[in-house]
């Protein structure tokens, strides 16, 4: 049988990815020809010194910014071929983004924030409500649905943000220093949650972090240096 142990089709394929920022007449090379494959369900931790291109890589594979050259294929789709509005729709369906500073809409409640990406789908009102409840319960905040962000702790806000990121059930979950603004306890909660989403829900998680402890939650760690992948380490303890 070729099914169980055959090579798994990567969910993300990156080839010769380059990003050059032009500042006046100086070119800043943020990514210098990165190539890598990410398998479904992997929890990839991106590390490296500040300015090494971690965020840039994350933005390019999440379809938030455009590459200077090279390709990003996600589930076989070359996202460079999508126009602005197609890309917006693609992000809505395929990528959940978790920000360092949560980025919740302050005037909306937790439930309304989680519902935002669902408003762009064809789901009915009751289906949306059900999905919002499921997502909030999954992050352990079913009882905080009607709280506004300023009535929640930082850790709770980041969990709401994660609920929002998974609301449309995207395959890819992308997080840029999600624990950067959190205390140790809240950070651990968030990391556990991301790990569970990868292990139990099969999400592919790609997370940037500076914290070596955070790195231990992943299945694989990539070290970037000056826009290039310097080291690519798979955790041996991990069993898919």
């Amino acid at each position: 049988m070729e099914t169980s142990h055959g090579p798994v089709e990567p969910i993300v394929q990156i080839r010769d990815l380059t990003k050059i920022y032009r500042q006046g007449d100086i070119d800043v090379t943020a990514l210098a020809g990165v190539s890598l494959d990410i398998a479904p369900g992997e929890f990839v931790v991106l590390m490296g010194p500040s300015g090494s291109g971690k965020s840039t890589l994350l933005h390019l594979l999440a379809g938030i910014d455009r590459a200077t050259s090279g390709t990003v294929l996600v589930q076989g789709i070359n996202i460079a071929n999508l126009n602005e509005s197609e890309l917006a729709g693609w992000r809505n369906q395929n990528v959940g983004f978790v920000f360092q500073s949560f980025n919740l809409i302050p005037v909306l409640t937790a439930a309304e924030n989680v519902e935002l990406p669902l408003l762009l789908t064809a789901l009915s009102r009751s289906e949306r409500k059900a999905q919002v409840r499921t997502a909030l319960e999954l992050v352990g905040l079913g009882d905080r649905a009607h709280h506004r962000p300023d009535q929640l702790s930082g850790g709770q806000q980041q969990r709401v943000a994660i609920a929002r990121a998974i609301a449309t059930d995207p395959a890819l979950l992308v997080a840029d220093e999600p624990t950067g603004n959190l205390d140790a306890k809240s950070a651990a909660d968030v990391l556990n949650l991301l790990q569970r989403l990868s292990r139990e829900a099969g999400k592919t998680v790609i997370m940037v972090t500076h914290d070596p402890k955070a790195a231990s939650y992943g299945t694989r760690s990539l070290h970037l240096e000056k826009g290039e992948v310097e080291r690519d380490v798979r955790a041996t303890s991990f069993t898919p």
């Binding site: 965020s55 933005h59 999440a62 938030i64 910014d65 602005e84 509005s85 917006a88 729709g89 992000r91 809505n92 369906q93 983004f97 920000f99 360092q100 500073s101 980025n103 809409i105 302050p106 005037v107 909306l108 309304e112 935002l116 990406p117 408003l119 762009l120 929002r164 840029d176």
Partner: protein, 394 residues
């Protein structure tokens, strides 16, 4: 693909410090605009609805208005026997010879005197005007130096209360009743007997005009032609309504003023709205980027901010309309009339603000247009923000 309206409502609400001044600014513009239009409406209503379609007004050929016209007693006697004229049950021809004069009467407010129109009418004067009804007191009696005045004038002039008196020429006239002119130009008049007026004001055998009711539509046409063709009379006959409609010109300046002032003030309001919306976009850069990351398109960001501007302006419009209605109702309740000088007769004419539902709709449309114009450029700026602004700005 539009954000829920509650998102906009709450953003307007949480930023109330910034939004209130814009809302009030728009409210001011809309209330001034609506009030000026309401005044123009009132003027049009009073001039436009004066007269009876069955009546014909006769003035001297070449006279634009009754006040500058002369009709002799002789002409009156000739015309009253024309067979086109309808008759009362008692067999009297329905014709009234009239004399219009200006008398200067002190204002109630104590702010000096103003000219008011005193109309002398003969026997059928009241009968010919179905719009005028006695509402208090009685009609003047001939030879008693009595007048019956419009209630609306009575609210403006001192001595116009029943039992009051005022100086007219060499005599004093006593007010014995109040009539209502149903919003017509007669609401700006005081009436007495025409022949008595001729003697008080030393007019000899001269009236100003004749008001006639022909038997029917056909008689009206032939009567009008007959007057026009009679070279010896040198008089002009036209429908009473047509005559008053031509006096409507006074509403035009208010309409022009409403337009000019509305345009000038709305430019200010558009800039105020624009300022507020630019500030709103600037303070929500990260929020806009976040929405884009979640999958909202540039188009939905534009719609979102246009909607928010329109919402802001609609609130201002609602406040402005409420203020305009409040002012109108207060003035009406206190009986305050707006006086304007009639440039033909130099008599003060009274008008009321008239606010109708369509004026409110116009005011709201005006407000929303201000909001949309004001938020257009901020909305476009918001849409042009790069998606990564969600991650860069703090």
């Amino acid at each position: 693909m539009v954000l829920p309206l509650k998102y906009n409502i709450r953003n307007v609400w949480v930023r109330w410090r910034a939004t209130t001044s814009t809302i009030l600014g728009i409210a001011l513009v809309v209330s001034v605009f609506v009030l000026l239009r309401a005044l123009a409406r009132g003027i049009e209503a009073s001039s436009g609805n004066t007269g009876d379609a069955r009546n014909v007004l006769i003035v001297r050929k070449g006279s634009m208005a009754e006040s500058g016209s002369l009709v002799t007693l002789d002409q009156f006697r000739t015309i009253r026997y024309f067979e086109e004229i309808a008759q009362t049950p008692a067999g009297q021809p329905l014709i009234s010879a009239e004399l219009v004069m200006l008398v200067s009467v002190p204002r109630r407010t104590g702010a000096g005197e103003a000219n008011t129109l005193l109309r002398g009418v003969t026997a059928q004067g009241q009968e010919l005007r179905s719009q005028v009804t006695l509402i208090e007191g009685r009609w003047f009696r001939r030879g008693q130096r009595e007048v019956t005045v419009s209630r609306k004038l009575a609210q403006r002039f001192s001595g116009f209360e029943i039992g009051g008196s005022f100086k007219a020429g060499p005599d004093r006239l006593t007010v014995v009743g109040h009539f209502d002119g149903a919003g017509s130009a007669f609401d700006s008049e005081a009436w007495m007997d025409a022949d008595e007026a001729r003697s008080i004001f030393d007019r000899g055998e001269m009236y100003s005009s004749l008001l006639v009711r022909p038997r029917d539509a056909a008689a009206l046409v032939s009567f009008t032609n007959r007057i026009a063709q009679d070279k010896r009379l040198a008089l002009r006959a036209e429908s009473e309504r047509g005559y008053y409609e031509k006096q409507t010109v006074t509403a035009a300046p208010f309409k022009i003023l409403a337009g000019l002032l509305g345009a000038a003030m709305s430019v200010g309001a558009v800039f105020a709205a624009m300022n507020t919306m630019y500030a709103s976009v600037a303070s929500r850069t990260r929020e806009i980027g976040t929405l884009r990351v979640l999958g909202y398109s540039r188009g939905s960001v534009v719609i979102c901010f246009l909607l928010e501007g329109a919402l802001l302006a609609a609130l201002g419009g609602a406040v402005g309309c409420a203020v305009a209605v409040g002012i109108t109702m207060t003035l009406a309740a206190r009986g305050t009339m707006f006086g304007s000088l009639d440039f033909q007769s130099f008599a003060e004419t009274v008008y009321q603000f008239r606010i109708t539902p369509d004026l409110i709709v116009l005011g709201m449309v005006f407000a929303v247009a201000i909001g949309l114009f004001g938020s257009l450029f901020p909305a476009l700026r918001a849409a042009r923000l790069p998606v990564i602004s969600a991650l860069k700005s703090l």
